[in-house]
């Protein structure tokens, strides 16, 4: 009977483990190791849970005292063999989990000798990514199958970079440089989440990781690099697009439709309202968006754009100012 209860509980638990969609889609090499440890641990845990539940359920069913039974149970004080067994067996099991974990950890930490290094800047409440040739973007573009090492910095408080499909997570710490290795194995778009409480906008500090075939990545990164070195208009348009400005702002030259922030077509009017010259106003609104707030718009623009390299910032300002003047000229 005891065995039967154990088998039933074990089967139910296994069903819960097997049929519910636990781990998200696997999209990195590191996840393979993580999943391995996860399922080994699950196997051990299902067995232990089934054992404990079986003994508990059986005891409650079998050893319940009759209402008029005031006698005591047998005075068993212990059993050395049993006690040695339940000290030794769990020790062996956790050592197995520990060894497998340590091996997986060592593999997952390794970024590879010629890994692509991308600098990640975290700031309330946005991510920014900088590639080796100087291109920056607000979403993370990754080449399929290439070892990538993210180098994370935080500018204000703790943040944490996490993509469930990659399984890898790392805090970004003010004053420290931290690293995270990822080798994407599947083309697709995956959510980037901030998983360390970082203030009021923590829940919306999200972005996207886009894994693309190597050829597409190479052509994207070269094209954007070329545009940055091109004429100011083209460079500014590239920065505008890569930083995702259009997600929040209307700007006709870029055909963008975002409604979260004020329309950038109206920059001249806004500069007048703020009482500042157009170029200075535009630059200030990018690096210190909290200084002047357009009426009815909340102070939600991330301050990350202050970290743009100077040439990219100049190009962006130029692009916005030119575009706004064209709109009204």
């Amino acid at each position: 009977m005891l065995v039967l209860i154990g088998v039933v509980v074990g089967a139910l638990t296994t069903a819960v483990a097997y049929f519910l969609p636990w781990l998200p889609e696997q999209a990195s090499e590191q996840r393979e190791g993580i999943d391995l440890v996860f399922w080994i641990t699950t196997g051990i845990c299902v067995a232990i849970f089934a054992l404990v539940s079986a003994v508990l359920i059986y005891s409650v069913w079998k050893f319940r005292a009759k209402p008029d039974d005031d006698t005591d149970g047998p005075p068993i004080h212990g059993n050395t063999a049993l006690e040695v067994a339940w000290t030794a067996v769990p020790t062996v099991l956790v050592v197995i989990i520990g060894v497998v974990s340590a091996i997986v950890l060592a593999r997952n930490d390794r970024g590879g000798p010629d890994a692509l290094r991308i600098q990640v800047t975290a700031q309330q409440f946005a991510w920014n990514f900088k590639y080796p040739n100087g291109v920056t973007s607000a979403t993370l573009n990754l080449p399929l199958g290439r070892d990538v090492v993210l180098q994370l910095r935080a500018l204000d408080v703790l943040h944490s970079f996490f993509v469930p499909q990659f399984g890898q997570k790392q805090d970004a710490v003010p004053g420290e440089l931290t690293k995270l290795a990822i080798t994407p194995t599947k083309v697709g778009e995956y959510p980037i989440e901030c998983t360390e409480l970082c203030g009021l906008g923590h829940a919306v500090m999200r972005s996207q990781a886009v894994v693309m075939p190597v050829a597409r990545y190479e052509s994207w990164i070269r094209r954007e690099g070329r545009r940055l070195r091109g004429p100011p208009g083209e460079a500014g348009a590239a920065v505008f697009r890569n930083q995702g400005c259009g997600g929040c702002h209307i700007f006709d030259p870029a055909d963008s439709q975002g409604q979260v922030g004020p329309s950038l077509n109206e920059l001249e009017k806004q500069a007048r309202r703020a009482g500042k010259p157009l170029v200075a106003f535009t630059r200030e609104s990018i690096v210190q968006p909290e200084v002047y707030l357009e009426p009815d718009y909340p102070n939600v623009m991330p301050k990350t754009y202050a970290q743009l390299p100077d040439d990219q910032l100049d190009a962006l300002v130029q692009y916005l100012v030119d575009g706004a003047q064209d709109e009204n000229g």
Binding site: L20, P21, P24, I34, V37, F38, T41, C45, F49, V52, S53, V55, L56, S59, F63, R64, A65, D72, G73, P74, P75, I76, H77, G78, N79, L82, E83, W86, T87, P90, T91, V94, I97, G98, S101, L105, D109, L152, D156, V157, L158, S160, F162, P164, G167, K169, A172, V173, P174, G175, E176, P191, E193, T195, L197, G199, L200, H202, A203, R206
Partner: protein, 646 residues
């Protein structure tokens, strides 16, 4: 029993004549809430004068600057005024001023009416009840905050509260549940039971004991009242630099923890001295009930570890108020240093919140199974093993923090090894039930419920202990599920078990068994429906501490919220049962569970000084089924025995 009691009682009664109630203007100077009121205001004024005076003299602008004003005047001076007013310092003040004091003064001892529960009382039984009622109040408050959190999370997007309030809700929820409920509720139960179990008339330091209690309402009101200002919003972990540069409301948390921590340390010290020096004759360490063992190890943890959280909060506070740079990276501060110091307390704190529960469960499982506890010595030794290992695992909270990478594997190994002593305890409880004569009363249901839920919490702890899985699940809802299985399914279930088990001893009345069982089943089902799905959405990648989340998690969150409201409602059954039974329940006998430990050998509730004659301990505490075995004999029995023999 009843006959022998008179002599000691009279002896003490001579000192215990309650002072006549003060009249006229003397009511203002007598210890009590009236004096506490005006002295709080007076001390608040002094604090304000100090801060504003210094700022005015130094010409600092602005004059009214919240951080120092809050810290010094509102959160330090005013509470000190309250303590002085309520009378917590009276004895020591008289002593320091050279006024006559009576070391054997028992006028503040025992409760003759309900009024006596609302003054500084030195009776460990009164203090135990004060602790429990106060902590249940903060449990309700913390639970209501959780209901607001779940209401907000029922749908993606923001519906009811703005992000600042939301962050305040979960921060204050956790702070209250941990520092004002679980830790002090255990301290309250132990306060009541430990001296009785030891055969002692009281705690070693009754006045310190009273002071420890009165620090608690201060800490609780402080943390709760932060909603009137800005609530602390950096989570109960209060990580720098969010807690040092974020809104000033974090000061409420940083100072509240100091008051609750001071209370903890004093109580821990008191337990240690009591357990070491006040055991009845014959009560060797190997004859102590496991609840006493559990509180002995817990108190060691408290005394060693709690100063670390005090330090971490002071550092964070100083960074804001005094302009120090402990955690300011621009000036060479070390942000991760906060986490190391914080977790050096807060991991042992997990065991501070578990070990007393282990003790409670050991008592109940043995008595309700009518069998000796299986492997008594190994049970006590495994507590000590958890104590030592518990200090070597703190960095498992920091696997993704960016700390020294080499630290991860050693900390993983010590973490996983804790499963071994914990496993010993679980298997020993199971072996204790095996072939017993189970009485499935309400306390036993909670104890067995604890056993099953704590196994799930322990197993999810193995996932989090394994570094690669932790990297995936850290800071997701998997962690939320894990801590609730450990602290709710673990600690809270044992607190309920303990409250039901000792309710007849404390109140002299019996609770309603049917309502107790209803409470258990509602909580058991509601708890699992609320927290089990959190494992799933956590592994799928939902981050914790978010007011808003991706739409894919919407269905499960709605389900969890509905279940959590049911779970919250189950508390009403508990409250009704407690209040109604305390007032109108059937009178309880001295030993309704037929227990062998000493607290069951005296009347319910026990006499003011517990024992008329200190008992002589002659055997182990769990000798159920051993013919003729005794844990202790009492004076009159010894006299009878002596007469029979001669």
């Amino acid at each position: 029993m009843a006959d022998g009691m008179t002599q000691t009682e009279h002896h003490h009664e001579a000192h215990a004549a309650p002072a006549p109630p003060p009249r006229g203007w003397r009511r203002l100077t007598a210890p009590g809430f009236l004096r506490a009121g005006w002295m709080s205001l007076l001390f608040l004024g002094l604090g304000l004068a100090l801060v504003l005076g210094i700022r005015a003299l130094a010409g600092w602008d602005p004059l009214w600057y919240w951080p120092p004003v809050l810290t010094a005047a509102f959160l330090t001076m005013a509470p000190l005024g309250f303590l002085a007013g309520i009378g917590a310092f009276d004895y020591w003040t008289h002593y320091a001023l050279g006024r006559p004091t009576r070391p054997e003064d028992h006028s503040g001892h025992g409760a003759r009416s309900w009024h006596d529960y609302f003054r500084v009382n030195t009776d460990h039984k009164v203090i135990g009840v004060q602790y429990l009622v106060t902590t249940v109040f903060f449990f309700i408050a913390g639970g209501l905050l959780a209901m607001f959190v779940r209401a907000e999370l029922a749908q993606p997007g923001t519906q009811f509260v703005d992000p600042e309030t939301y962050n305040g809700l979960f921060t204050v929820h956790a702070a209250l549940m941990i520092f004002l409920f679980i830790i002090p509720a255990f301290a309250g139960l132990a306060n009541y039971v430990v001296p009785l179990m030891l055969g002692a008339p009281d705690m070693a330091f009754p006045r310190l004991n009273a002071l420890s209690f009165w620090l608690l309402p201060i800490a609780g009101v402080m943390i709760l009242s932060s909603f009137l200002f800005h609530p602390p919003s950096a989570g109960w972990t209060g990580y720098a630099t969010l807690s040092t540069v974020g809104p000033d409301g974090n000061i409420f948390f940083q100072m509240g923890v100091q008051w609750a921590g001071a209370s903890s340390i004093m109580t821990g010290l008191n337990f240690l001295v009591t357990i070491i020096t006040m055991r009845a004759p014959g009560m060797t360490f190997w004859r102590m009930p496991l609840l006493v063992w559990a509180n002995f190890t817990t108190s060691l943890l408290v005394v060693v570890a709690t100063p670390f959280i005090a330090a971490s909060q002071f550092f964070a506070l100083f960074d804001r108020v005094l302009g120090t740079d402990f955690f300011n990276p621009q000036e060479g501060g070390y942000v991760l240093g906060y986490q190391h110091i914080f977790w050096f307390y807060s991991h042992p704190a997990v065991y501070i919140m578990m070990l007393p529960g282990f003790g409670i469960v050991s008592e109940i499982v043995s008595v309700m199974s009518r069998k000796p506890i299986f492997g008594y010595r190994l049970m006590a030794l495994s507590l000590m093993a958890i104590l030592f290992l518990g200090f070597s695992v703190w960095a498992h909270h920091m696997f993704v923090s960016g700390m020294a990478p080499w630290l991860r594997v050693p900390m993983m190994i010590t973490t996983l090894l804790i499963a071994v002593p914990t496993g010993i305890k679980v298997f020993s409880w199971l072996a204790t039930i095996w072939e017993g004569k189970l009485n499935l009363s309400t306390p036993m249901l909670w104890a067995l419920g604890f056993l099953s839920m704590f196994v799930i919490g322990g197993l999810s702890g193995i996932y989090l202990g394994a570094v690669p899985i932790d990297i995936h699940t850290s800071d997701t809802y998997f962690v939320v599920a894990h801590i609730h299985y450990v602290l709710f399914g673990g600690s809270l279930f044992t607190i309920f078990a303990g409250i039901y088990y000792w309710f007849p001893k404390m109140t002299g009345r019996m609770y309603n068994e049917r309502l107790g069982k209803l409470h258990f089943w509602l909580t058991f089902v509601g708890f699992n429906a609320t927290f089990f799905p959190m494992h799933l959405i956590g592994v799928q990648g939902m981050p914790r501490r978010v007011a808003d989340y991706a739409p894919e998690f919407a269905n499960w969150n709605f389900f969890i919220s509905v279940a959590s409201f049911g779970l919250g409602a189950s508390t009403i059954v508990f409250l009704y049962n407690m209040i109604h039974s305390w007032a109108h329940g059937p009178v309880a006998e001295g030993n309704p569970w037929r227990g062998l430990t000493l607290e069951w050998q005296v009347s319910s509730p026990p006499p003011v000084f517990n024992f008329d004659h200190i008992p002589q301990v002659v055997g182990g505490p769990y000798e159920y089924g051993v013919p003729g075995a005794r844990h202790a004999v009492f004076e009159e029995e010894r006299v009878e025995e002596l007469e029979r023999v001669t």
